[in-house]
């Protein structure tokens, strides 16, 4: 039973930040698409901006890995 809770905790640790990242990327992506219509030269900057919220899910992944491997 304990294993189930550990797996559940790890899933939450990576799942919730994944949802948050998806939400942030959807907002940034929509704004970025609008920006690109006006200023195509900002393509590189927009790609980087879209990638920025992924830090959340990466950190979530680290926590999940720590839960699975160290608990």
């Amino acid at each position: 039973m304990e294993k189930v809770w550990i797996a559940f905790a790890a899933a939450l640790a990576v799942g919730i930040p994944a949802l948050a990242t998806a939400w942030a990327q959807s907002r940034i992506g929509a704004a970025g698409a609008g920006t690109l219509a006006e200023k195509p030269e900002l393509t590189g900057a927009i790609i980087i901006l879209v990638a920025i919220p992924e830090t959340m899910v990466i950190l979530g992944f680290v926590v999940a890995a720590m839960i699975l491997l160290m608990v």
Partner: protein, 628 residues
């Protein structure tokens, strides 16, 4: 790297100004900067003033501007059929050109006017003909009776057609016939046939109902309908031939004169640019002074050029770049062979300031390593190398595709090297088929070592960035800021060592003293930087942890590759297995190129460069000929 710039002042007699500007214009290595002179004027010398052109120069400029406008108008009228060039030197024949351009402009305007009218007539005829031709098949339904009068009409819609039919039947006591069709452009048209006796009545009814008859040139109005169509076709052919003749005359004129006028226009543009450039010069009663920027290694050659051309009358002097100038110095980037293609990645950022660093060599050094660490697969590395080879060979050098090919080639090489270290060939296919084993560790299983490796790379990268940040402050003559950055660097090192000691206890690595060290440094940092200092420390630790993405993306890539191999194997058929596995590997490779690129760049732009790079530099835009 950022090319070393020189701040120079050019001084000479006033009468040599235009020739000096012409020489600078031809060399294309000098960027005038009137703001530098503004500081001098404000600071010390009120005898200096901006140049005011004398009467002759103003007259000449006005003449050239007027001529430029007329030549531009003429070139717009002439067809662009000739790419020939002329060796004519416009200056000696300027007076003649001034006269000729008026004659040619008048002739070209006439020709273009006639041609346009001819084309309009041809279009009208074509339009009329298309309507009458649409009615032609309806004639076959009518009896061949010479007593019949035929009308072509344009009808608004089907409803109007029905109303018109009932009205005309009533007015002509049933002695009329109406049929309709639709033209190619969707217009509904009708053919009305009646005997000549009731034609007058019918025409009145059409006028009263505001149903327009199809247009027809007056001279064809009396002809029977079939002959009208033939005559219209003949008229259209004549009109088109006329258009061709007028067009050929214009083309001939363009072939003879366009190269000459293009050459004259280029000369006029350069000459007027010289006059505009005089606005950057300051003068005293007898002399002119221009200040600006140029690459340091070109100063001697320009100095010699000016000496040779003006026999020492015009002098170039290099000045010291003072601290206040640093934000004004324009930036020119130039990178040697290996690093040059990486400029496609550094161009995504704004230019760095002159006192900062060119990010290109740093991207050239670290981007392929981070890319290879993330993707790390022999098979993918070989495929990417072939793609890179194709791009670099197939496209001309220094084009975007060729540069992408070169960057991809270097990244693919690192992918291959890390593939050997991880023992991966299309995921675990190498291990299954060829007995390939990792030289270093299997990242599909060794998750923790891979996390530690990624964090170590992150720590080294960020600490390097912080060191460069301290050096930048030293270069900007800001020793206090450099010391603060150095103290922050030490605090981060202590924090990292404390974390290492906590996770991997060593006898020589005691966490307590390290944290005490951070505790001592913190009040110093808070005193210097305010309450943001602890936040900055935490942010830097977050930046290092962000490098875990190298492991996370690589882990997902190897798992996808393993899934591709398993699914391919489960099909039970070699061909289907290769197809399924190949498709999934292709998808994984696509992701494997996109994700490491974006994330490696992000690690550079957000985590690494934020530690030292000062963006917002001004591009070096030397004053040069638009028509070399």
């Amino acid at each position: 790297m950022i090319i070393r710039m020189a701040k120079v002042e050019i001084v000479g007699p006033k009468q040599d100004l235009l020739n000096t500007l012409d020489l600078l214009h031809n060399r294309g290595i000098f960027q005038p900067d009137p703001h530098l002179m503004e500081q001098v004027v404000l600071a010390e010398d009120d005898r200096l003033q901006t140049l005011v052109l004398d009467e002759n120069e103003l007259r000449e400029r006005s003449f050239f501007q007027d001529l430029q406008e007329r030549v531009t108008t003429l070139l717009e009228l002439l067809p662009k059929n000739s790419n020939g060039s002329s060796r004519l030197q416009p200056l000696p024949v300027m007076a003649l050109l001034d006269e000729l351009v008026d004659q040619h402009l008048a002739a070209a305007r006439d020709q273009v006017g006639i041609l346009n009218e001819c084309r309009r007539n041809a279009e009208d005829l074509q339009h009329d003909l298309s309507f009458w031709e649409a009615l032609e098949p309806l004639l076959e339904d009518l009896p061949k009776d010479s007593n019949l009068e035929l009308f072509g009409v344009t009808i608004r819609d089907v409803r109007q057609l029905q109303n018109l039919d009932s009205l005309l039947q009533e007015r002509t006591q049933g002695r009329c016939y109406i049929s309709s069709t639709t033209t190619a452009d969707g217009t509904l048209i009708g053919l009305i046939a009646t005997d000549k006796g009731t034609a007058g009545n019918l025409r009145e009814a059409l006028t009263a109902e505001r149903v327009p008859e199809l247009h027809l040139p007056e001279e064809l109005a009396g002809l029977p309908l079939p002959q009208r169509i033939t005559a219209l076709r003949a008229q259209l052919t004549i009109q088109l031939n006329k258009c061709n003749q007028f067009e050929l005359r214009l083309i001939d004129m363009s072939r003879r004169w366009r190269p000459i006028y293009r050459q004259a226009l280029a000369w006029l543009e350069e000459r007027l640019a010289l006059y505009r450039a005089t606005a950057t010069a300051y003068t005293t009663r007898l002399c002119f002074i221009i200040q600006g920027w140029m690459a340091n290694d070109e100063v001697d050659s320009l100095h010699d050029d000016l000496n040779r051309s003006f026999s020492g009358r015009v002098v170039l002097e290099q000045q010291v770049i003072i601290e206040e100038d640093l934000d004004q110095v324009p930036v020119m980037l130039r990178n040697p062979g290996y690093f040059a293609p990486f400029e496609i990645l550094s161009r995504l950022l704004p230019l760095p300031k002159y006192s900062s660093y060119d990010p290109t060599p740093l991207i050239g050094l670290f981007f392929p390593v981070l890319f290879g660490m993330t993707l790390g697969d022999i098979g993918y590395g070989v495929v990417l190398m072939m793609l890179a080879f194709f791009l670099a060979r197939h496209f001309p050098a220094h084009t975007l595709a060729s540069d992408i090919g070169k960057v991809l080639g270097i990244a693919a090489l690192y992918t291959l090297v890390f593939g050997v270290l991880y023992g991966e060939l299309f995921g675990d296919l190498g291990e299954t088929w060829l007995g390939l084993h990792p030289v270093w560790f299997d990242r599909g299983k060794a998750v923790v070592p891979m996390i530690v490796f990624s964090l170590t790379v992150g720590a080294v990268h960020i600490l390097l960035g912080m060191t460069l940040g301290a050096l930048t402050e030293l270069r900007r003559h800001q020793p206090r800021k450099a010391l603060i950055k150095l103290a922050m660097l030490v605090a981060v090192v202590l924090m990292v060592l404390a974390l290492v000691g906590w996770f991997y206890p060593q006898s020589w690595l005691s966490t307590g003293p390290l944290l005490i060290g951070v505790g001592i440094l913190m009040p110093v940092l808070i005193a210097a930087e305010g309450l943001l200092a602890p936040l900055e420390l935490l942010k830097t630790m977050g930046n290092i942890i962000s490098y875990v993405r190298i492991m996370a993306i690589g882990f997902s890539s190897i798992l996808l590759a393993m899934v591709a191999n398993r699914l391919g194997g489960m099909t039970g058929d070699i061909m289907v297995g290769i197809l399924v596995g190949g498709t999934l590997h292709a998808f994984n490779l696509l992701l494997g190129v996109f994700a490491p690129t974006v994330h490696s760049l992000r690690l550079h732009y957000v985590e690494f460069f934020s530690k030292f790079l000062d963006l917002g530099g001004r591009r070096f835009e030397p004053w040069q000929k638009r028509h070399p």
